[in-house]
Symmetry: C2
Subunit: 566 residues, 2 copies
């Protein structure tokens, strides 16, 4: 047989189309036009309304010359406009550039300049921030600055004066902007599934944020992978605790359209707000960083609604969750799926797949097993841990530390305008995560540290994550983060930053610090035990990640641990 017979049928208009999650919205509007799609306070939009609003948005953008190759920025918390931006902006051909609302004006100025966004959509609460950013851009660029068009999202729950001010400054109100668009706009699906759909910037624990470009193909595949990994069935009720601006909410805007579910928006995330939304809307699923889980576990009884009125599934990722937090959640009845990934991998791309044989294990063992980063997502083709020296896979011994690497269709297109970073990150046919971990005998990977977070003491590697996991077991500890502090004798030694649970007396910090160190000595090798324990609130990113670079700076201010202290 000639190969061509069986393989040489060409693609045609009927059997090949670019993969894109935009079709999911069109489908949801066709199949369930009257079903609720997005709820925000007293406002509710059906799938048909959402589709029409997105088409209006795409149409209005097109009229302003936005199309393939453009970037539209949006600065907003989890409000309907941000959900709509994930469809409406790509439906115009452009890329949605979601911006973290907790960034400062000068960083936002950098991002807006780098992404060359000619339209900025901003929530009224953050208008001043956007205005400051634009002022900085203007100052820096001198004469040739063409200010972007600013569209402001009004929200009845905010101070009306901020809206009034924004409109006074010439911003167009978002609903007005939608009205200028056609609800029947003939949006064009991408011709090429490799076309970019989203641009998001890494959260800047490093000096210069990198712009992560995602494509339609990957967004489509993640949208179908998420429900399979997470038992998310048609009509799921999803609570938006995870910021949509963070890695496109792990692709859940598109997932919710694929499963025709319900999006419950949430402007501000508190344990009380989560519990009450669960009861009010019969929330079935939400995503949250471990710090949010910690606040749920430690919520005061009057803020909780327990026992839970129905099964609630929680996906957590974004930092290695301490086993104690996982077991606390499961004791409260939440079913926690632990995933791991990066903005560069469309959000979660590994999952600690639960095994039936774990059901009968003690809760602590379950939590320890479930705290691992696990195995690859169904949409990811290859995952491994490779030696930073040889590039070869490390043995599955649970001990040998290497770098966690990814390969497959849910790996980003690359960093925008950053060939050097792309070359490094895609070296040797892998995406290099920069996270260090081990491969366990059961094949589950486990993060030991970010490369830059590892503490090297007397030539030995100390995993800051493992020290933290032990600190979380101490009855007085609410949160803990461990970084390297210079040490005259050992080069580096662990320095613990700790917040205490409500009601713990801080009167004698020295004695408490000693008690914590003593506790650590009973749990870990002596050289792992923090030589410094410092109390106080922890600096966090918008997504709840503890900012270790800030803590490292603090540790530096403290100066080295003296020989005499030994």
């Amino acid at each position: 047989m000639e190969m061509r017979d069986i393989d040489d049928l060409p693609k045609n208009a009927a059997n090949y189309m670019a993969l894109t999650p935009l079709w999911f919205l069109e489908r949801a509007a066709t199949v369930h036009p009257t079903r609720k799609a997005v709820i925000h306070g007293s406002r509710t939009y059906t799938w048909l309304q959402t589709y029409q609003r997105c088409r209006r948005l795409a149409s209005a953008l097109s009229k302003r010359s936005i199309g393939v190759g453009s970037s539209v920025a949006i600065i907003a918390p989890n409000v309907p406009a941000l959900y709509e931006a994930h469809f409406g902006i790509p439906m115009s051909g452009a890329v949605v550039n979601t911006i973290n609302i907790r960034l400062n004006a000068s960083t936002i100025a950098f991002l807006l300049g780098h992404s060359q966004s000619t339209i900025v959509i901003v929530d009224q609460e953050f208008f001043n921030l956007a205005e400051d950013a634009l002022r900085i851009m203007k100052e820096k660029s001198q004469s040739n600055f063409r200010p972007p068009l600013v569209i402001v999202i009004a929200d009845g729950s905010c101070n009306p004066e901020t809206l009034e001010y924004a409109l006074g400054q010439g911003a167009i109100e978002y609903e007005k902007f939608l009205e200028s668009g056609d609800p029947d706009f003939a949006w064009k699906p991408p011709q090429d599934e490799w076309q970019s759909i989203a641009l998001g910037y890494t959260s800047g624990t490093t000096a210069s944020p990198k712009g992560v470009l995602l494509h339609h193909r990957g967004a489509y595949l993640m949208a179908l992978s998420n429900p399979i990994i997470w038992e998310m069935n048609e009509g799921a009720v999803y609570l938006w605790t995870l910021p949509m601006f963070h890695c496109n909410g792990w692709c859940f805007p598109w997932t919710l359209a694929a499963v025709c579910g319900i999006n419950i928006c949430l402007r501000q995330v508190t344990a009380k707000g989560i519990y009450s939304a669960i009861a009010k809307y019969r929330v079935t699923h939400f995503c949250a960083a471990p710090v949010v889980l910690n606040s749920i576990v430690n919520a005061s009884p009057e803020d909780t609604i327990l026992p839970l009125p129905h099964a609630v599934r929680v996906m957590t990722a974004g930092a290695a969750p301490p086993p104690s937090v996982l077991s606390g959640m499961s004791q409260k009845g939440f079913r926690v799926t632990h995933t791991y990934g990066l903005s560069e991998t469309y959000g979660p791309s590994t999952v600690c797949a639960w095994k039936p044989e774990w059901d009968s294990l003690p809760p602590e063992t379950q939590a320890r097993l479930n705290a691992r980063q696990g195995v690859r997502y169904v949409g990811l083709e290859c995952l491994d841990v490779i030696s930073t020296q040889t590039g070869q896979p490390v043995p599955a011994d649970g001990k040998t530390i290497g770098e966690i690497v990814f390969r497959g269709n849910i790996v980003m297109k690359g960093y925008l305008k950053n060939p050097k970073a792309n070359e490094e990150t895609f070296a040797n046919g892998w995406f290099h995560s920069g996270d260090l971990g081990v491969k366990n005998p059961d094949g589950y990977i486990e993060i030991k540290d970010r490369s830059k977070d590892i503490i090297i003491s007397g030539g030995e590697n100390i995993s800051s994550v493992e020290v933290e996991n032990n600190l979380y077991l101490h009855p007085a500890v609410m949160e803990a983060s461990v970084v390297a502090r210079a040490d005259e004798r050992w080069g580096e030694s662990p320095c613990a930053f700790v917040t205490l649970k409500p009601g713990v007396g801080k009167s004698d910090e020295q004695r408490l610090a000693e008690d914590i160190m003593k506790f650590c000595r009973s749990k870990m090798p002596a050289y792992w035990v923090p030589k410094s324990v410092i109390f106080g609130p922890l600096p966090k990113t918008a997504t709840g990640k503890i900012q270790k670079h800030v803590l490292r700076a603090k540790a530096k201010e403290l100066g080295p641990v003296r020989m005499s202290k030994l």
Copy 2:
């Protein structure tokens, strides 16, 4: 901004791979190596074992020069080897050509010749059939015939003499063949996701079967779409009632690997066997043609296990299911998902998506709504009903009949070596199904007939399906099929072929026929009422489809309905 900045990052080895369902097997073996994958009587294989067996198969095939461009045929009922063929054959680069076990030898000879399969894997029970087919091929091809290598699947539940005979004729035993392969074989994923993965022949209601080619991309997308459409979560227990040789079991071999579920094999499908498998293996899902559902609904009480011990989901497709069968199933506690598709669309590609507002309707109304073919699958981009005259979409009025057409990524690559059929079927950017239907005001499509099944009486179209649906409501009717019979006055009139429920006295067929016609008159327009009612078993294809072409031949033998009969 230049377009290139935001869109011009090239694919690289880390972020682009051909989509293929073969990775799902590797993943299942990595994530759940010890979990049961395939159960057949007393034999059980875990996911790791299944993966190793498939790698052995791929390796053994490679040693026999099978690779990209080859086709390997398999003639088998739902046994583990057929499951393995869906992975092992494509892992060698070749195309799996599943052959319907109910075909006759001369048709199989045609298929083997057309597909140019150089290896034939055959279940011992069907060895004689394969042997006859090869003999016919040899006779027809004269001197230049090179017989394919024959591999025979042994099964302890079959007559040992058939195996002995096959081995005596030089066939290689399947397990021996596997042993010649390497369990660690470095299989190569396809370089191009457009590469063919499967070849299956249309069931031959037309004279010359057409070879439907499916590609890796579509098989991957269907594997992810099926669980989302059907609430099929990780660890689902799937009973193989649907033949895997029929349209690759609607892509469920690959779906089961994606969800790490359990495949329960079933050599023969009976209502009793289905009930007992549900109880024994805690089956959660199975697929079946409406005729199988009918046998479940009408099973004698001693063959059933009711009430069902747990929730069981049933997907049905393959013919328009009579509403009475749907309501019968739901009364027994099965949750029926009604889908529709063709071999050319990877199996089901529309679904009658259930709406919450239907929950409160009377069972008959529910069944009638659920009997419609519905809306597009999540993996299909476009579905419509178009006028056979103008090619334009018909209005969503539930009345105007047009052809059901598909467009998207789960439409076949094309027919093998059949450019004329490809040109027709892919005309004007649509895949033309040949099925006639309407679009209802809620957007749900509904089949009225195959183009060739429509009955034209006095210039009016009669949907044979609607007449059948009414016949099924008659208390004595077990199965019904309606075709056109020549009619001296009206050109054509409906002719009903009917089987009766067990226990119904057939002593006076004439009176029963009159009673059925009277019943019909109370339900439908006079010209729809069958002028002839004929009792007896209905001819069926291997997949349980009633062979209307056989019935049409019978109706022809009867001669035209005479004027005097009016």
